[in-house]
Subunit: 215 residues, 4 copies
DNA sequence: CATGAATGAGATTTCATTCAT
DNA sequence: GATGAATGAAATCTCATTCAT
């Protein structure tokens, strides 16, 4: 519960004044949505899991979809976006002199973050293809911001002669694809296989480095 | 319709003797499931789209879930599995002398295949996490078969000194992850972005080659 | 099967020319109706049990109800009625000098008959309350005929001073009630209890004799 | 309605807090089940008769079968069992010195009771053969309890030399069979015949007395 | 705020019956 | 006669949502 409380405080501002029940609803909804998918989860199920009357959900969220958005939107705005963007700043502050250092910092951070917020991550991945609103929010909050910064960052390392001279968009695509590919395989497709995370991450970094290093 | 007919003939043996209506049901179900997801698709919707009475669906499939499995199971067994495995044979017949040739053949083939069977592919990707039966079938039909062959294939190229000396499982993971990462981004997450497929594929191959080449 | 064939030949005249399939349908229907009740039995279930296509049932019987009546009506007319009435004749032919002999013959005969035709008997008992047509047939074929004969028979034994001087209707009611009560308890309510049939029947006869004997 | 309310209060504890609609559902279900049988009664029919939305039924009872059990179980536990057993106590308190007094009290009481709760009685009789759960409950709540007491009671009268020296189980079987036989004929099979209840009951008692009296 | 009974639209499923072959 | 695919009406059941308390 300490864990979930921290999730809640991360997701919502203090002024938002969530009641106890509302918090429980959010936690229950995240759990159910991530396990069975949005469409296959009933509100009554969420209510039961939250220990709350069925009507209570609808005091706080006009519709079931509202509940989804009420979870995913702040998750993107408050959790994912800042986190995704975070280190991208530091590079230009010359925090990471080498692309490899940057990669390593980024991946390790993200891995820890994803593991902690796995359910939210699963909801995002699974529901985005079905809800245009989510896709919009995603592009709005994440894609755009990442894109600009990453372009600059890539150019920075390219100028330093560290990475290959490809259009930055493609560097971006390959990087994200490789990293996300690992995470999706790891957490969505074969979560029960036994993974040696540290080794896989190092492997992934080395692979990326070889693939993107200037020759 | 010619297109779908070919899909049907690929998915089902001739002896199975599907009636006309049953074919229409399958086509409609594939379309709807892939667009809205299994749980969010109603059988009445499928019936309407197929131009069939709702009862007709249940004459052929005892439950809605049966319908899903009745589509996905043959899709894996008849379509996906042979296709995925196909070129893996040829390598040992020294069809592809260089790993790069193999990669290129494999990716190009798969890309064409996926584009043609996109809806089935989407259903697979989206529903596997929610249906243990599907996951089992997947491991059974696809994962196991690919795994063994790919190991041998990797060792073959490693002996020829063409690719890096990593455990074959990891070569496999990186290869699949990179390729699937592209496809998922391309077709599931950002299908409407305008992609230059040829260029991206070539890029991906080069990236993989650099990442996996023996130094 | 020999058994069922004999049932069929008892139920239907030879001229009726039942096809093989029709016989199977009848046998299957009797089995299912008696086990689960008419309303809870589906025609498709009967078809499957009979090894016959669903449509075949409706070639022979316009409706499901027709099938019920097509079984129960001949069962009453051909099987039950003659059997019930049978010994009632003999009495007046002075076959049975004592009421007790008559009772014993009647009960033992009936018991054997019921055991052999239990499913039909169950259908009759269970469905009569819900189908006015059956009730009518029952009164028509059985009740009326029995009634008249039994009245005479009772008077015969009353004149001989063997049984108590009550209105024959009441003698009839008590007799039937006692006998049927035993059969219903035995076969419908507690069929799986272990009954010593011979003993119970003898007991029942003695009980009836004491209850009805002229003092 | 006053009548049904009393039925409801008899069937359910006050703490159970049935809503008004739930009561209406129960009353409607009892009526329909007893008239047409469980399998032939649709939930929509019950809903309409109860003046309630169909969904409301399923809010209170997960399945249609649950509704049946939710009616029959308390009917056995609260109504039938106490009633059946009731006078059996009194005998040993020397309330009834003669077996005949006991019989008369028992039958008259039960007749009144049955007439009042006819629908419930019909449901019980008609559905027990098809639902193992009901049969179990019946043996549990009724049969077992009656059995023990009746054995003792019989021995009591046997010691007093009032009834015949048969194994008590058989005395029990004959007694119940005779009484129930009357009730079933009276209320299930020929309810519309015109019965002179008082006379029939007296007749039945006399018959039983003669049949069971010690000679 | 919270409850939970009630709703009614709709989802899944069953089933008697029809009909072209 | 026999088949079994197809039907559509109806049955069972689910569920998001409302509302009186």
């Amino acid at each position: 519960m300490a864990d979930q409380d921290s999730l809640i405080t991360q997701l919502f501002d203090e002024e938002e004044e969530l009641t106890d029940k509302q918090k429980k609803i959010i936690i229950a909804a995240i759990e159910s949505f991530s396990e069975k998918g949005y469409a296959a989860t009933s509100t009554s199920e969420i209510a039961k899991k939250a220990g709350v009357a069925e009507g209570t959900i609808f005091r706080h969220y006009k519709t079931k979809k509202d509940l989804l958005l009420g979870i995913v939107a702040p998750a993107m705005a408050k959790l994912l976006a800042p986190f995704v963007i975070k280190d991208l700043y530091k590079v230009l502050d010359t925090k990471y002199e080498h692309f490899e250092d940057f990669l390593r910092a980024m991946i390790e951070n993200r891995a820890a973050f994803l593991k902690k917020n796995l359910p939210l991550f699963k909801i995002l991945i699974q529901e985005i293809p079905f809800h245009p609103e989510l896709k919009e929010q995603f592009t709005e909050h994440i894609a755009k911001k990442v894109f600009d910064r990453f372009i600059k960052l890539t150019e920075y390392y390219q100028e330093k002669g560290q990475i290959i001279d490809l259009p930055p968009q493609q560097i971006l695509r390959l990087t994200i694809t490789t990293i996300m590919g690992y995470f999706i395989a790891r957490y969505l497709f074969l979560p029960e296989a036994d993974w040696n995370d540290e080794e896989e991450i190092e492997l992934t970094i080395q692979f990326l480095m070889r693939g993107l290093a200037a020759n």
